[in-house]
């Protein structure tokens, strides 16, 4: 029953959000969300390399 209700409601909800919130979502994702994700990914990469240097490789040669 629950499943049915969601399936029934889904198209109208998507329409609704698409209609009203598509632009803010797109802008937020492109200009805030993904840039932050990029910086975090690079920082994580840096930390991983650093820890590997401490544990296994030693300073870069």
């Amino acid at each position: 029953m629950n499943k049915q209700a969601i399936e029934l409601a889904a198209p109208s909800v998507a329409d609704e959000t698409g209609h009203k919130r598509e632009w803010p979502r797109f802008l937020l994702l492109a200009f805030v969300g993904l840039p932050i994700a990029m910086v975090l990914a690079i920082a994580a990469y840096g930390f991983v390399v650093w820890f590997l240097q401490i544990l296994f490789f030693g300073p870069p040669s």
Partner: protein
């Protein structure tokens, strides 16, 4: 949490209804360009000298030192800024180094090197970290500007040519020799040679019997009384002493050494005519006839000075003697071999005589990272293994004993 995953899933998987594909892609493209540009600008901003010295530790301690060197100001107007030497130039190493700086931010917050005194005390740690980095990457940052392949060795001074051609042949790391080139060298007195710890521990477990001869494992203060309250001088590592009696935590030892009969005669040497310092007495007691007995006196034909064989007994704390001097020389030999061969082939110990070594060694030790205790022991090692004690062909006056062997 489930909601968030669902939200992100929808965000990425549901096609947009109102915005055209071209607009989305163009918008994403622009956002990407701006983000990457912004990232690079931030990378560059944190790689500027202004950024480095905006922190007071750098501004107060390291900037004034750099300003005195050729890397700050020179006739060609090319100048090195902090990150040119201290931040790797390749992306991966650079990002790793930038993340490593989180440790420096932490240090700044807790004030590890918040004052000049703290900085000076900690400097050896920082310097060694940087030296290891340069040793591992062959001073790559230096070589962004100074590379062997671009050097015209013929334009160098003859002495530099020898050293630099050898270094180029071995592709040697610049900082191996050129330490302290842009900042002051750390004070080595805070540093300790961990090799001495084994000596200290074997000395503390050494069984000492009266009447036997032992050697100092660590420098020690000498006292006039068994309560160890009245200081009369100090004795150096590897000096031989004869133990006379042991009382509680103190032992009375006999020194049998030589001194020059000149001035107070405070400095006592291990052998006649050789400047191998073994003990230094305070000047109030050096001429005290109750304490110091003169056994013999001879004139050194080289200098015309009168040398006296002297003996004295003094008290010292227990646990600083070992029965063989060989472990001390092992440490000294290792330090001599590793420190000196960094820049040139180290001369044979017996290439020089005991009175030549101090001048030579004193002139070179500043280029090494030996701490004061190690340097003193190494000098003593060199003197006691010099041509005066050697039975090989390198006697004093042999042709190869006068020439420094900095040749390939």
């Amino acid at each position: 949490m489930k909601k968030l995953i669902r939200f992100i899933g929808d965000l990425f998987l549901k096609p947009s209804v109102r915005i055209g594909l071209g607009v989305l892609v163009t918008g994403g493209f622009i956002a990407g360009v701006l983000a990457w540009q912004g990232f690079n600008t931030a990378m560059e901003a944190t790689n500027k000298e202004e950024f480095c010295i905006s922190c007071h530790t750098m501004h107060d301690n390291l900037l004034p030192e750099l300003q005195k060197t050729v890397h700050w100001n020179n006739r060609t107007g090319v100048r090195a800024r902090c990150p040119d030497c201290h931040v790797p130039h390749e992306f991966t190493d650079k990002v790793a180094r930038k993340m490593q700086a989180s440790r420096e931010v932490w240090g700044h917050l807790v004030g590890t090197i918040g004052t000049r005194e703290k900085f000076k005390e900690h400097r050896i740690v920082l310097a060694q970290r940087e030296w290891t980095r340069f040793a591992a990457n062959g001073s790559r940052e230096c070589r962004a500007c100074h590379d062997y392949k671009d050097m015209d060795f013929d334009k160098m001074r003859p002495a530099s040519q020898v050293a630099m051609r050898n270094a180029a042949a071995r592709d040697q790391s610049c900082v191996d020799c050129h330490k302290g080139i842009a900042h002051q060298l750390p004070e080595m007195k805070g540093a300790r040679n961990p090799a001495f710890d084994t000596l200290v521990s074997s000395a503390s477990s050494q069984r000492v019997a009266a009447g036997e001869t032992y050697y100092l494992a660590v420098p020690q203060v000498l006292f006039a009384d068994e309560g160890l309250s009245q200081r009369i001088g100090s004795i150096e590592v590897a000096a031989p002493v004869k133990v006379l009696e042991i009382k509680g935590d103190a032992q009375r030892v006999e020194l049998a050494l030589w001194r020059k009969n000149k001035g107070y005669g405070r400095v006592w040497y291990s052998d006649f005519g050789l400047n191998i310092t073994s003990a230094i007495l305070d000047k109030e007691v050096a001429r005290d006839e109750n304490l110091v007995k003169v056994l013999d006196s001879r004139e050194d034909p080289m200098t015309g000075l009168e040398w006296q064989q002297v003996t004295a007994s003094a008290w010292m704390p227990k646990g600083s003697l070992i029965d063989s001097v060989e472990p001390v020389w092992t440490i000294a030999r290792a330090s001599y071999n590793s420190s000196c061969s960094v820049c040139h082939r180290q001369p044979d110990e017996a290439h020089f005589d005991a009175n030549t070594w101090p001048g030579l060694f004193g002139g070179m030790v500043g280029f090494t990272s030996m701490d004061e205790d190690t340097a003193r022991v190494v000098l003593k090692y060199l003197q006691t293994h010099s041509s005066d004690f050697s039975t090989t062909q390198h006697g004093p006056g042999a042709p190869d004993s006068t020439l420094q062997t900095a040749r390939p």
